[in-house]
């Protein structure tokens, strides 16, 4: 009899009662990550912690003198409640496509040469980053405006959900559809 049991730290195959144990083997395969990439864009949905240096590595190029990066992080309070952590869930395949659509639409109006978007899934503790939106342009205004508008659109349209966890329960959040002042 064959069966496979997987967890975050263990990978076991039981074969005819014999146990083969590959501890820690498959963490990277079990943790979820989906990516769309081309010369201009890197769009990532991942359960791994986000790393702003990866955004910089992708968007820093000789022709661009302006880089704008937005990092959304978990805040420790909501109104009078203490927030313990956020838990994100995504319709990953569609979220990637929707973010690509948003970036393509906005890139038609702004001279951005490189774009990086990463959204995290799973538990995101206070001060940890749940989203990075970054872009580079020859001059700063295009990168800054692009990032601001992209964040608004992603929050409005990307099929991603967050549950806010408190000491006494949890709530599914709903983003406001109103966009920022830019």
């Amino acid at each position: 009899m064959w069966y496979v049991k997987m967890s975050y730290t263990r990978f076991q195959i039981h074969v005819c009662g014999m146990l083969c144990d590959f501890t820690c083997l498959l963490k990277s395969k079990i943790l979820s990550q989906i990516m769309s990439t081309n010369d201009r864009d890197q769009i990532i949905i991942t359960s791994d912690p986000l790393n702003v240096q990866r955004a910089l590595d992708h968007i820093t190029i000789p022709s661009c003198g302006g880089i704008s990066i937005f990092c959304g992080t978990t805040r420790d309070t909501f109104q009078d409640k203490t927030v313990l952590y956020l838990e994100y869930e995504a319709y990953e395949a569609m979220a990637i496509k929707e973010i690509v659509r948003i970036c393509d639409d906005l890139a038609a109006s702004f001279d951005v040469r490189k774009i990086y978007v990463a959204h995290r899934t799973g538990r995101v503790d206070v001060c940890e980053t749940s989203i990075i939106v970054a872009a580079s342009s020859p001059h700063r205004s295009d990168a800054i405006t692009f990032v601001s508008k992209a964040v608004d659109k992603i929050k409005e349209r990307a099929p991603v959900w967050k549950k806010e966890w408190y000491e006494d329960g949890s709530v599914w959040k709903e983003n406001c559809k109103c966009t920022g002042p830019v």
């Binding site: 959304g72 994100y88 869930e89 995504a90 319709y91 395949a93 569609m94 979220a95 496509k97 929707e98 959204h119 749940s130 989203i131 964040v151 992603i154 929050k155 409005e156 349209r157 990307a158 099929p159 991603v160 959900w161 967050k162 549950k163 599914w172 959040k173 709903e174 983003n175």
Partner: protein, 82 residues
């Protein structure tokens, strides 16, 4: 009538107790009649009517569409990414 895969996320997943299932849906569907059909299977989804939207093959459904049995439908509760 096609049997299509329906995906449930967030509140919808909790209400239905399912991540996905196969559902018999009409050949031509819109947001309204998809919700009506799915609420027959999961009556508690009616509590979210007015808040839900639908994705068809990983894009927001606008108007109506002819379904194929290979299609993917997803119920999309209010989003809260970022």
């Amino acid at each position: 009538m096609p049997v299509v895969t329906v995906l449930y996320f967030a509140r919808c997943r909790e209400i239905t107790g399912k991540v996905q299932e196969k559902v018999l849906l009409p050949e031509t569907v819109s947001l309204d009649n998809i919700l009506t059909e799915l609420a027959k299977v999961h009556p508690a989804l009616e509590t979210l009517r007015g808040k839900l939207t639908v994705a068809h093959n990983q894009a927001y459904l606008e108007g109506s569409v002819q379904l194929q049995s290979t299609d993917e439908i997803a119920l999309i509760p209010p989003v809260s990414g970022g």
